[in-house]
Symmetry: C2
């Protein structure tokens, strides 16, 4: 997906939110903002939005001398959702269709996206869980997803955010005993998952965890390591979580199941859905 | 009021909204956006936000070769509120405190502000009227405002937006037989009122109408004509409508009654109120 003009105000907002996450010094906020405006000046709208987001957060990290501005909030959300995990697991196991419930919860977890807004809190997460469990995913899409899983031997699951990763665990449990590889980022970026998060929530006990070699949000293949790209090519099914993975992979010719909560008007326009919708989008090679 | 960092995403949004008001050509939208980003690069945060807004809308007008992008929407809102006018006038006249009702309605009218958002529609206006009539303004502020009016000989009423101007008419009727001068902009800017709007809604029959000699939103005195500044200095009471007038005059040492609906977090922070609040703020020389 290319970058829309409407992404630009959002880049500026994200710059301020990320800067404020690290320091209260408004002189530094202004310096960072001006550096980002310089980048906006030369950006190409042909690239996917996560490429600009990568640049923004690199500027924030460098100008604040902070390697991982979202570290604290990531830990907080992993811990919070791990507390909910036993109840959520019970909900999945006791439901009429555990696979469907796990898919709905995995999508609900995508609300914890600090790239879109930093105002997500515990109440919002609980509200989203209730919403996603009450909503239905179109039965034919769900059946097709289940069919793709049953045919697959080698599933790559592209993780998205801290906290959300606990919801992913519930879905991965439904995919087993298939061989599942869980993909994390190569370095800290926003609240995206890295190897440490996969360990923290115990995904490492269920799936092989690999990093994509890049610290961009989403999966910008040009920036990923050769090693990762070769492995990903061998996957016969890719499950892609969240907006940034969609933005960076929607034009790729691969078998991908996109799972996300539509949280911005640019995404809804591209996908053709409404704000707040649960999205299960199937892309075939 | 100085420009806050949070005004920057809003400037970018405003650029896109204004550009789309004139043309559907996204190549032109991108060119305008890049020109505005160039301006953002060199802007000073010491200036009030309307100064940057003036630059943005000048760029939009010049690059689209359209002298008044908001002309159609201004006419539409003047017409719409004029239709409501007989009912609103009845509400004022039949109320226990006609002055208070007129003040509340004048503030309600400030919802029609395309600088803040272009999504205002007829339903939103009706909802805001109901909200403002149900809410109360602190009695002591209202008494002080009434006292200031009764003492004043020469009132300057700084108009704000098309549509809103019909609500202002209701308040001006309550100020008569005092000498009221209604101030419009010197040239088209967003949906701000110009002389044509004052004529369209019949303000010219109630008050002397003068323009401030500037096409910036609000009242940036440095950009206003000398003639206007001399006249304004002779006023013993200024009634200032809307956010942009507040942003550009809040630091001036004059007797000003600010009437506005707080529509953005930057304003609420500066004033110390909540989003959506009706604001009657009294500033003394």
């Amino acid at each position: 997906m290319k970058t829309y003009l409407d992404c630009v105000p959002c880049f500026v907002r994200q710059t301020l939110e990320a800067s404020r996450m690290v320091t209260d010094d408004s002189t530094i906020h202004e310096k960072i903002l001006r550096a980002v405006i310089d980048e906006l000046n030369i950006m190409s709208f042909q690239n996917p939005p996560p490429l600009m987001a990568q640049k923004i957060h690199k500027i924030v990290r460098e100008m604040t001398n902070n390697k991982d501005p979202y570290k604290k909030i990531k830990k907080r959300f992993n811990k919070f959702i791990l507390k909910l995990y036993p109840d959520l697991k019970k909900k999945v196991e006791e439901s009429v269709n555990p696979f469907e419930t796990a898919v709905c919860l995995a999508i609900a977890g995508n609300i914890i996206d600090f790239g879109v807004t930093s105002t997500v809190d515990e109440a919002k997460v609980n509200e989203t869980i209730d919403y996603c469990l009450a909503e239905k995913i179109a039965a034919n899409y769900l059946t097709e997803f289940e069919g793709a899983v049953s045919k697959a031997e080698n599933i790559y699951y592209l993780g998205d955010n801290a906290g959300e990763i606990v919801f992913d665990k519930l879905l991965i449990e439904q995919l087993l005993p298939k061989k599942v590889t869980f993909v994390v980022k190569g370095g800290p970026i926003i609240n995206d998952v890295t190897f440490e998060d996969a360990e923290d929530v115990g995904i490492t006990d269920l799936a092989k965890v690999v990093d994509n070699g890049s610290d961009a949000p989403g999966t910008i293949l040009d920036l990923c390591s050769d090693e990762f790209k070769i492995k990903l090519n061998e996957a016969d099914l890719i499950i892609s979580k969240g907006q940034a993975n969609y933005e960076s992979l929607s034009d790729q010719s691969k078998n991908i199941i996109f799972l996300l909560k539509a949280k911005c008007p640019v995404i809804t326009r591209d996908i053709g859905c409404n704000l707040g919708d649960m999205v299960l989008k199937i892309k075939k090679q």
